[in-house]
């Protein structure tokens, strides 16, 4: 029965990291919440840094797989692929994770935070996790937006990730619409995101792509 304490530690860490940040959360706070001994973290994970990575590893693999499988399903469909569908394939799995319960919301919150906050090693770790997924999405988007040069497409992908990180992180700037969040807001948010991002991605390029081959 190694797993029980480990799970409780991961749950507690996930919650506290999402609420307070990584540096601001102490091992003592985590073990207290998990009702475990202070030494348990170093025993099970080795260090605080390793615990942070474990928190992400636990859920990130499934998320990436879902995103990739949904993208693959799109590409296998034969018909032309819409930008909205690609965005949906990327965003919906994470929003579904959110809908699973408080832990999902915490995790996506954490995911947003980690892109900006977080140590260099953590960002490196996440970069390696994200890389294959983003590469696939970039490839598909490049195909259905042939006028965009690679640099422009990458910038727009960067902007897209910025919107998602910022929104997931729950950064509440002044006029954030609380009223909207009353009920069924995940669905509404998904459509708002797709509407906004699809238009941004589809904007005419600043610099027309030079035709390569033919």
């Amino acid at each position: 029965m190694e797993t029980d304490t480990q799970q409780r530690l991961l749950d507690a860490a996930e919650a506290l990291f999402a609420e307070q940040g990584f540096a601001e959360t102490s091992l003592r706070a985590i073990t207290a919440r998990a009702q475990a001994n202070l030494a348990a973290i170093n025993y099970h994970f080795g260090s605080k840094d390793a615990l942070v990575r474990a928190v992400f590893s636990r859920r990130l693999r499934r998320l990436s797989e879902e995103r990739l499988s949904r993208l693959a399903a799109l590409n296998a469909g034969g018909q032309p692929v819409a930008v909205e569908a690609v965005l949906d394939a990327f965003i919906e799995p994470s929003l579904r994770l959110r809908r699973e319960g408080p832990h999902g919301e915490r995790f996506t919150r954490l995911l947003g935070r980690a892109q900006i906050e977080g140590s260099e090693s953590l960002r490196e770790f996440l970069r390696d996790c994200y890389a294959p997924v983003l590469e696939q999405f970039q490839r598909t988007l490049g195909r259905i937006l042939p006028r965009l040069r690679p640099e422009e497409l990458r910038w727009r992908l960067h902007f897209t990730l910025g919107v998602l990180s910022f929104t997931y992180a729950g950064a509440r700037l002044p006029p954030v619409p609380f009223a909207v969040r009353v009920a069924g807001d995940e669905e509404w948010l998904l459509r708002q995101l797709i509407q906004f991002l699809a238009a941004g991605l589809r904007a005419p390029p600043l610099m027309e792509r030079v035709e390569t081959a033919v």
Copy 2:
């Protein structure tokens, strides 16, 4: 001559906060870089939290004033206002700050970070600084995008700020275009941002605005 040490402390803090984050930067590291005594921070600013706020106060006022004055100039122009022009009025001052030198780049980096990272009190402080500016921009955008309901407009403003925060924070996801940054990148970035965001803001509303008073 109280100001000399204070300026050096603010410079050092700004640089270190931007590089490492708030919690990760110790007063000792700041005073060492500023070549000042450890006690200088508590003497001149009172506490670490107050120092953080002072770092923002120093540059935020001018930035907000420039944004507002550029927006006012637009609105006073008589002609219809384009979404691109509004975005330019918001973004260009911050990019110009970046162009001023390393301190400008550090500060905008910091600005992006603070929205996600940062204590509750700091976010509150920043919210109060931003509120009047965002309110004005929201008003103008609401006027030139009359089909958007207030909730949708606020979400899209939220997304816009997300893109800016993420980009300024310098979050480097896997495929960030380094090649583009070789020269004159600020200009290019500005146009990329406006192109992307203007399209997103102008996207057709999900829910058509009900006509209020003819």
